[in-house]
């Protein structure tokens, strides 16, 4: 059944959902909004697969002994949890779903610059995804999501090449999306939509796109080398043949550190939109916020070896990478301060998206501050490859990015579906997720400093209590993630019909119908206002 039949709003105005029906009209669409929905479905699917692996991991870790799963199975679980979540959920999440849907509308364009390439991106993603599913269903892969050599190249006989290929192909989807966004933002802005009037969501997706275009090819090369090394025994990473396993780590992190910013920058964009709207305020320090995302994108390329402080790189290289890591922390701090001051003297309402934004700022701050710990060389030696690092990046990527993504989905849900989600349920789910998240990951900081290494199938008994807490949190988190699935689906049929601008928010996307017509605007808008012109919009009445 296609989405359209589920969502046809009662007031039959032509929009992108009801313009055409049938599976063909979806699979061959070049409409960025429909492609966004295709992505939404596909990444939700992968999110639940990755989540299922996570749950198995947490259940295994309920007891110190390796009892629920076999050691090899456990290794496959954390490997595929990482690969699925990073490459098939987090990286495409905000850009390919919300970015795809919103960027053309936000800049007043009819579509992306290359609508067909946009569809091609989705197909590449699906082909990559099919390879990943093939890998999962035929026995899995246990390299760790990091594919470290020579383990991955010489010592494992699982589906390493298939998994690498899956990520390789999905990578091209990411590159093409990035390319599409860059060209679109440069060439397709409506009259009057100058760079300094772009919503920060567009800025952050633009910065993300730069990383996607410049970084992902390096990942592709790296994975290709792993495959070639396995198939032809080239010896690039094999010390016995004069190769160097550390070379792999450099190549891998050259992409994978910036990839962290692919995963967080778009989320920052979402938060900027949400915080301004529910504070009724222009963003504090627009220029600095825009500069900060660009700074993060650029500096993000210069810190990769901070993943290798204990790996055997030279003393002075380590120092330089540590120093640069502190530089990249500065723009992140700037963002947090600006969001906070945006709320100052605002008129703040606590709708669901805003709750997610609060959650984001809080958890991202925790993730960022613990980043200061791991960037400190002396401390990193102790905590790298322990649960401290696991907790740190989950605070950024799950606490930050998933919160932002869900906040964004709720915020723009009326625009996407034409219906309101049930507010009370929304708030409840946000709260459950926040509590579940902290219970899952906070104990892991303690575990890490105590010295529990990551990727351990069995562990020393004194770590058990904290692991039990973490597993308890994970089950709460699972409930929290299932709830929106249910009520958002429900709302597509039974939700209150949304008007054009239910939040009375600023931005071009709120000046067209909900859901928007196929070409977004009846006529190309001309922009004469600055971004976040909340002073010119009337107040929304107090809730209830």
């Amino acid at each position: 059944m296609s989405m359209a039949t589920l969502t046809a709003p009662s007031a039959e105005r032509e929009n992108y959902l009801n313009q055409e029906y049938g599976i063909r009209s979806w699979l061959l669409t070049t409409d960025h909004k429909r492609i966004a929905l295709l992505y939404l479905l596909s990444i939700t699917f992968f999110f639940f697969i990755g989540g299922f692996f996570a749950l198995l991991i947490r259940l295994e870790l309920l007891t110190p002994a390796g009892d629920l799963l076999q050691a090899d199975t456990y290794n496959k679980m954390f490997t595929m949890h990482g690969q699925v979540m990073v490459f098939f959920f987090l990286i495409p999440a905000v850009p390919a779903v919300l970015g795809n849907f919103l960027i053309p509308i936000m800049i007043g364009a009819k579509d992306l610059a290359f609508p067909r390439i946009n569809l091609l991106s989705w197909y590449l993603f699906i082909i990559g995804g099919l390879f990943m599913l093939y890998t999962i269903l035929t026995g899995g892969v246990d390299t760790g999501w990091t594919f470290y050599t020579p383990l991955s190249t010489q010592f494992l006989d699982t589906h390493v090449v298939a998994a690498a290929l899956a990520i390789f192909i999905a990578g091209f989807s990411s590159i093409l999306t990035g390319l599409n966004f860059i060209v679109t933002v440069h060439r397709m802005r409506a009259p009057g939509m100058t760079w300094s009037r772009l919503p920060l969501f567009v800025w952050s997706n633009y910065a993300t796109s730069i990383i996607q275009v410049l970084g992902t090819p390096v990942l592709a090369i790296t994975l290709m080398l792993v495959a070639l090394e396995r198939i032809f025994k080239l010896g690039i990473f094999n010390p016995q043949m004069g190769g160097d396993p550390l070379l792999f780590q450099h190549l891998f992190w050259f992409y994978s550190h910036p990839a962290v910013y692919i995963m967080i920058l778009p989320g920052m964009g979402v938060v900027s939109e949400v915080v301004t709207c529910f504070s009724r305020k222009r963003i504090f320090g627009y220029k600095f916020m825009a500069l900060a995302v660009i700074a993060i994108a650029v500096l993000g390329f210069l810190v990769w070896a901070h993943h290798m402080f204990a790996a055997g790189i030279s003393l002075y290289a380590a120092m330089i990478f540590s120093l640069l890591s502190y530089f990249v922390a500065v723009p992140s701090a700037i963002k947090v301060f600006n969001w906070t001051t945006t709320m100052y003297k605002g008129s703040i309402s606590y709708m669901t998206p805003m709750l997610y934004a609060f959650g984001f700022i809080g958890l991202f701050t925790m993730g960022g501050l613990t980043g200061l710990f791991v960037a400190a060389l002396g401390i990193d030696v102790h905590v790298t490859d322990t649960y401290f690092v696991v907790a740190h990046f989950h605070y950024i990527m799950v606490g930050g990015m998933v919160m932002a993504y869900l906040g964004g989905i709720h915020f723009w849900w009326p625009k996407i579906s034409g219906r309101m989600y049930p507010e009370a349920w929304g708030k409840l789910a946000a709260l459950i997720i926040f509590i579940g998240f902290n219970l899952t990951f906070f104990p892991q900081f303690v575990l890490g400093y105590l010295g529990m290494p990551r990727r351990y199938w069995q562990y020393s008994p004194e770590f058990q209590v904290l692991n039990v807490l973490s597993t308890a949190g994970a089950t709460i988190l699972a409930v929290g993630y299932l709830l929106p699935m249910v009520y958002l689906l429900w709302s597509m049929r039974y939700g209150k019909v949304a008007n054009e601008n239910p939040w009375n928010a600023a931005g071009l996307e709120w000046m067209t119908a909900s859901p928007p017509p196929t070409f977004n605007f009846d006529q190309t808008p001309t922009v004469t206002w600055e971004a976040y012109n909340y002073d010119e919009l009337k107040e929304v009445p107090v809730e209830r």
Binding site: A71, D72, N75, D142, Y148, P150, L151, P239, Q240, G242, P245, K281, F284, G285, F288, A310, A311, G312, L315, M319, S322, Y326, F327, A333, F337, N338, T341, Y344, K345, G346, S347, I348, Y350, F358, I361, T365, T370, F373, A376, L377, G378, I379, V381, H382, T384, D385, V446, L450, G451, P453, R455, Y456, W457, S460, E462, V465, L466, Y534, V540, V542
Partner: protein
């Protein structure tokens, strides 16, 4: 089951300095987080939407932006320097440290003390002495991690990496492999047993005395025919190895390298990689012929050919092999 430690044992000099920075950061970041969260909560309540309350538009403030750019930057730089200082110490083993050669493999730790003792998954060290771990892997990358010492060093195939510590408290501590290394990664664990010096001496003198590691190396040196080329005069086809270790070596291609453990190791496995000036590249490779343990013994032997550093109770200086009968101690 209700064993809930919240802080790892502190059993080395490094542990103290790492903890100090960690506690400093906890305080600093705790304060920063508290400040930000309080601000958010206060704003959220104070400026909540209510009848008669209007948002007041503020554009931003360059002064504020610069403040919260440069003050954090300054703080970050301090953290960086402090962290780098600790790291510098961690990466600079003091002279005269006792040495333990380590071979990691899927999924065990093998230790060779220079005194000749060998251990598996258990490492005995004395309190109050610097210990330098010279480590290599037989297969994939592993990582030598002793949480109580706050040290971790990846162990790579094909070369030596080094870690050092100075234990301060007797006890038995966890040794973990911290780099994912395949099926039984989580089983690649062991104990570091830190002993009072007297007990340690007792432990050393017990057990099978195989002779020192350098002694073993000497045996290998002869049985593999190294001694046919490397003689202890200037007549050999290869360089005289006495006094080579730790000195700069001039190479055929004009470069100069320091003859550290990795250099000795490479000279044996890939002799053609760095050819000593004035010699022909005739040395055969011993890749695949010597095991990692034998290699360690050879390295220990070549090192023992140096006079011990003044004042340090290093390894007994072995006499170069001569035609005279062996004087096994």
């Amino acid at each position: 089951m209700f064993d809930l430690p919240l802080w790892p044992p502190r059993a080395s000099t490094t542990a103290g300095s790492v903890d100090a920075l960690f506690i400093f950061l906890l305080t600093l970041c705790g304060f920063m987080a508290l400040a930000i969260f309080t601000m958010i909560i206060v704003f959220a309540i104070r400026y909540r939407r209510r009848p008669g309350h209007q948002a007041e538009q503020i554009e931003g403030s360059n002064a504020l932006e610069f403040t919260w750019t440069f003050i954090p930057l300054g703080i970050f730089l301090c953290i960086f320097v402090w962290g780098a200082y600790i790291y510098f110490q961690e990466r600079t083993p003091p002279r005269g440290a006792a040495e333990v050669y380590t071979v990691a493999k899927q999924w065990m730790w093998k230790f060779q003390h220079v005194e000749g003792h060998r251990e598996i998954n258990e490492l005995h060290v004395p309190v109050g002495r610097d210990v330098r771990m010279i480590m290599t892997s037989q297969d994939v990358i592993h990582s030598f991690y002793v949480p109580a010492f706050r040290i971790k060093q990846d162990v790579l195939p094909g070369r030596y990496t080094v870690a050092w510590f100075h234990a301060t408290k007797a006890g038995t501590y966890h040794l973990f492999c911290a780099e994912y290394c395949g099926t039984m990664h989580s089983g690649m664990i062991g104990d570091v047993v830190v002993m009072e010096p007297a007990q340690y001496e007792a432990w050393l003198s017990g057990g099978a005395a195989l002779g020192s590691l350098a002694n073993t190396g000497q045996g290998i040196f002869q049985s593999l025919g190294c001694s046919t080329c490397h003689r202890f005069d200037t007549q050999g086809r290869g360089p005289n190895l006495v006094g080579v270790f730790g000195r700069p070596v001039l190479l055929e291609d004009g470069r100069t390298v320091i003859a550290d453990e990795n250099y000795i190791r490479e000279s044996i496995l890939i002799p053609a990689a760095k050819v000593v000036s004035g010699f022909k590249p005739i040395m055969p490779t011993f890749q695949g012929i010597v095991s990692e343990e034998q290699l360690n013994a050879l390295v220990a032997y070549v090192k023992s050919l140096n006079p011990p550093p003044a004042g340090a109770a290093g390894t007994p200086n072995l006499k170069p092999p001569t035609s005279q009968p062996e004087t096994n101690r």
